[in-house]
Structures are given as C-alpha cells and as structure tokens.
Symmetry: C2
C-alpha cells in the first residue's frame, strides 16, 4: 500500500488522486485513480472513501483538481466554476464537518493566490491538500499519544465503526489511540462492533487490527451491552464526524447506544478526533444535519436480501451523543474534559 | 399455510411433524416433514424452528415420536431408549426453558401410561403434544388480550427478534400483544429491530407484520436508541426464552441493550411470554445458561462474508435483562408487575 507499510486511504500521485476502494475491503485492496472533480464527488458519495477526516482530505484533493479545472475556463467564469466545484464537493456528505473545513481552506488559498500564474496556483493548491493530509496524520499521532494515557494496560476497549487509518489521512483517531497504547507496550484487547448497516467495524476495523497484529474480537453491535454487564469491557472509544461547541458529538449510527450503555455500567466513553472535526459555529448537536442513506444499505448485505420486498426502512447514517455522556474528547491538542466549551477557544 | 390463514410453524399430520423451514423465510415458504426423533433434533438445532414456545412444541412432538420409537425396542430397553431420546431433544438448545418443560410433560405422561397398550400410549402422546400446541396458541391469545392494555392507541412500539406466530404455536407473544391491540382497533406502528446476527426481525417479524398488514418500519438494532431520544418510540415489548423467579429474563441477544435504552429514555420495557417460559427452579438470571453459537452466524450473511478470514468472533445467542428494567411481564394469567416473585406462586 502506497509503497510504505502504513495504510493510506487517499493520497496524490502527480495531478491525480489515488483512493483505496474501501467498499471492496476486506476481500480486495484495489485503488482508484481519480482525475476530475466529478470523479472525486462520486467516490465520496458512494463511500469509496469514508470517515470524517478522510472525507476532508479527499475533498481537499478534489478542490485542488477544481483549481486546475477552473483555470481552464474563460477568465470571467473562472471563479464561479471553482465555486461550483466546491459546492458539488460539499454536497456529497452532509454530516462530516471536516469536508467544509477542508474546502474552506482551499477556498481561502484561491482568494489569496490571485497573483500567481496558473501553473504556480495549481501547484500551491496540491501542496495545500498534501499539507492537510500530512497535518492530519501528524494530528492523529499526537492525539494517539495523548489518548493512550486513557487506556490502562491490560484493558478491553470497545470501538464502533472505523475511526482508523482508513477513516483519516493515516494512523487513525480512535484506532490511533489504541495503536499508540500498543506502541507504548500496553496489552490491549479490542472489541469490534460490526457496525450495521454498512459493517465498517467488521470490514475495515477488523482488517486494520488484523494487519497490525492488535488483539481483537468481532461482535454484533447488540452484544456490547451484555459484555459490559459481565465486566468484559473497560472503556469505549470512537471517532467523530462533527463535534459541537458544547461537546455533543455526531458519529456513526449506534455510537449513542454505546455511550448510553457505558453510562449504565459506569464505564468511560471517549471520543478521539482531530480539532478539524470541531464545529465551533454550532452550539449543540441539535444543529448537526443527519444524513439519511438509501434503504438498500439495510435491506441487503452484499447480494443477499435480508427482509421481504416492500418493507419500509429508516436508515440514518449518524446519531448524536450528548456531551454529558462523554468522559473526554481527545484531539491533537490534548485531552479535553467536560464541561466542554470549544466555542470559547 | 396449514390450510388456515394463520401462521403455524409446527404441527402434526398423522404421525409426522410438519415444520415451516424458517431459515428460508422471507424468500420461500417451504415445509419439512419429520418422522424421527433425530430429524426433529436436527431441525431444532439448526433453527428450522426457533423461539422458545415453538421449540417447546417441536420438542413435544419429538417426544411423541420418541414414544413410538421406544415401544419398538425390546421391553427391557424401552424406557432407556425413551429417556435417551428426551436427552437428545433437551441437548438441542440450552437456553429456552419451554423445551425442558414440554419434555417433562411427555415424560410424566409416559410414566403414568404404563397400563395402555402400545398403540393407545403412542396416540395419547400425540394428543398431549397437540394439547401443548393448542394451549400455547390459547395462552398467546389470552396474554395478547391482557397485554393490549399496555399499548396506547397511536403508539410506536419497538420489538426485537421475533416473538411472533413463528416463535410460538401461533399468534405470538410480543407480536400477540401487538396483534390484539390492532384487533381492538388501535393504531400501532412497529419499529422492527433487524436483530443481528440471525436477522429474525428483518426476516421473520417483518414478514409476519407485512402478511397481517400491520404498519412497521425496519431498522438496524443500533438505531433504536436515537429514535428513543427523538421521541419516536413509546415503549418496547419482546418475548422471552427463560424467566427466572425474580423476573430476570433471558431473551435474544440485544434485548438487554433495548431495556437499558428504555430506562435511559423513561420508556416502558415489557416482556410477553406464556407461563411455560417461567423457570421457577431458578432464583435469578445468573443461573440461566447462555448458548453460544457458531462464528459463521456473525461472519456471514447468506453467502456473503462480512469480515476478514481468521477474525475471532464472540456469538452469544441470548442475554439476560435484569428484572429492575422490566415494567411488566405479560402472561396468559395477566399482567405481572414488579417486584416479580414467580417462585412464590
């Protein structure tokens, strides 16, 4: 993968975006080469890449492509073409705030680089996207180091969905915390929620942990509560798709139930995410838009239909965990403890 | 089905046991004809039939077959052959207490029918099994009527797994309560947990509700908590596989998490089951054996593998919900309210 041993879900090669097609994991490691904004939009929408930080990075590279495409337009259409591309990229997934954050950074660059010639301007955009990627990996290593303090030696850690290298630039947020604890020599066993409906835990987290030789066991989401009651889980850590100023956290559907069960059993529930996941423009989680996805994600697993034809489905991709259920939010800046007040930073 | 419009998962035709093969639902309604104890054991073990009351009924018919088979042995081996068949039937599934209960009833009949000739004795065993089936359906209609009081008009009811006609002799326990409320003219909408890993909610409950025209929506198990937070669920009702004297209730894995989430959101959690599900020989749920099933139930959905090869799996089929989380246990005798003390009955 990416000529190193590390998992890298999105990166640049020349003026093309390379994406590991996560829809094919764990069966196959296949990469897509994307050379237009539309191709990047389609890849984000169809979840070739997923995970809030990785979506942000993919969007940044998409925006770099947009700079090149816009500059081919007549000068008078140039900015509106660029803006249209950003709008298309933004519309691909509504919940992850990193997407907006990354697009805003490239937009600011565009506005501040009018004096550059076309070639230099395009080059600068690709360098910015690369910096966003590199910064994310560095942030994950930093937050992993901070978060590892929260993982006692010998602990059993529950995680939900995939907040691993695959969900980020690399290394991972929740899995970054676990990786850092393991690198420090701690013994850790990970309970992996399979994470219906798209099974990112079963397909992606199990694949990452197996690849890195980290001890783990896969369960159906609804098994975690009884493991907690039996004393077989010590804490839970997940990623985040958007964190409001008060600490309310949107993350993969099912995260809220993990947090409620942690509260019931007196176990800490932690969130690990880079600062770019914090949306200081909103006060609480009630302002976070929750994406609903197509019924087929619930009705089918692979080619297998699991329910009768014609059954009505509800399929929200995310839920919001109230700040009061969160024991700590770990970012590259350190461990934030409640009460959270990110708006005041 | 069974020449009536009602769903009947197990019944007798002559000296054969007919079982609807629930593994093929909702795609196909296919029936198996079983004429030996071994065939019935295999059918219970492989979940052709499932659901505690239906397992009890299947075992009763299996025991009737055992009477016929035992009487073909030399007189001196007759009783030990019968006992061996009961042991085989009992070993098929460890958690459902209705299995033991039904076998004990046929065993008592065997011991009290020594004076009958072989043909009359066999006939009596089949009549007893039929009575166990008929009594179960009657119990479900009675408990449905009692339980319907707990379902307000216009309510949104969450259920987990399948405690319907398919899980019983007919009509259902949890779904019996819902059917009775609907028959009384109440408007009810059912949220159906898909119920990983075997998806009995998606495959069986959705099929039953669709067949009966009862309004419902299918969700992944981990979505229920956020629906509760949003005020879109008013109460939950499930079946039971074994109820201890203090009211602790073993039921399909995931039930405990439903109950914890109900408590968190101030919603009533109800259990509906015939009295035969109550195990007065045990004080608490800690004494209930929890069956662990094979990894393939988690690793595969149909032919689709959902995780990497070699991943370790934990797959308990049931969990225990503490009595303190249960607002009422509905049986054919009425609505039991906490504190429960079934041992004292």
């Amino acid at each position: 993968m990416n000529r190193t041993d590390e998992i890298r879900p999105v990166y640049a090669e020349g003026r093309e975006v390379v994406m590991l097609d996560q829809r094919l994991l764990p069966e196959r490691e296949a990469f897509m080469l994307l050379s237009t904004v539309d191709e990047v939009c389609e890849a984000i929408r169809t979840m070739v890449v997923r995970g809030a930080p990785a979506i942000g990075i993919a969007a940044a590279f998409g925006a770099a492509l947009a700079v090149g495409e816009a500059q081919k337009c007549a000068p008078c259409d140039c900015f509106s073409s660029f803006e249209k591309s950003l709008e298309k990229l933004k519309a691909t997934r509504p919940t992850a705030v990193n997407l907006e954050w990354a697009l805003n950074r490239v937009r600011e660059y565009w506005l501040s680089s009018r004096n550059l010639d076309a070639s230099a301007r395009e080059k600068g955009a690709w360098e910015l996207a690369q910096r966003i990627l590199d910064d994310d990996v560095a942030a994950n290593r930093a937050l992993g180091m901070h978060g590892a303090e929260l993982i006692p030696d010998g602990s059993n850690v529950l995680t939900h969905c995939n907040a691993g290298a695959l969900a980020t630039g690399g290394y991972g947020s929740a899995l970054g915390v676990i990786r850092a604890a393991v690198e420090q020599g701690k013994k850790v066993h990970v309970w992996v929620d399979e994470t219906r409906p798209r099974l990112q835990g079963a397909k992606l987290t199990a694949w990452e942990l197996q690849r890195d030789g980290i001890n783990h066991t896969l369960i159906s989401d609804n098994m975690a509560a009884s493991l907690m009651k039996a004393g077989r889980i010590d804490l839970a850590v997940t990623g985040a798709d958007r964190i409001a100023s008060n600490g309310d956290t949107a993350n993969k559907i099912g995260t809220y139930s993990v947090a409620v069960n942690c509260e019931k059993h007196g176990l800490p529930f932690y969130v690990a995410a880079p600062e770019s996941t914090i949306d200081r423009s909103i006060a609480t989680g009630q302002e976070i838009p929750i994406e609903e996805r197509e019924a087929s994600e619930v009705t089918h697993v692979g080619e297998t239909r699991i329910c009768p034809e014609g059954v009505r489905i509800y399929n929200p991709a995310f839920d919001v965990t109230d700040a009061e259920l969160i024991g700590a939010i770990v970012t590259e800046k350190g461990i934030h403890r409640p009460p959270f007040a990110f708006g005041a930073d």
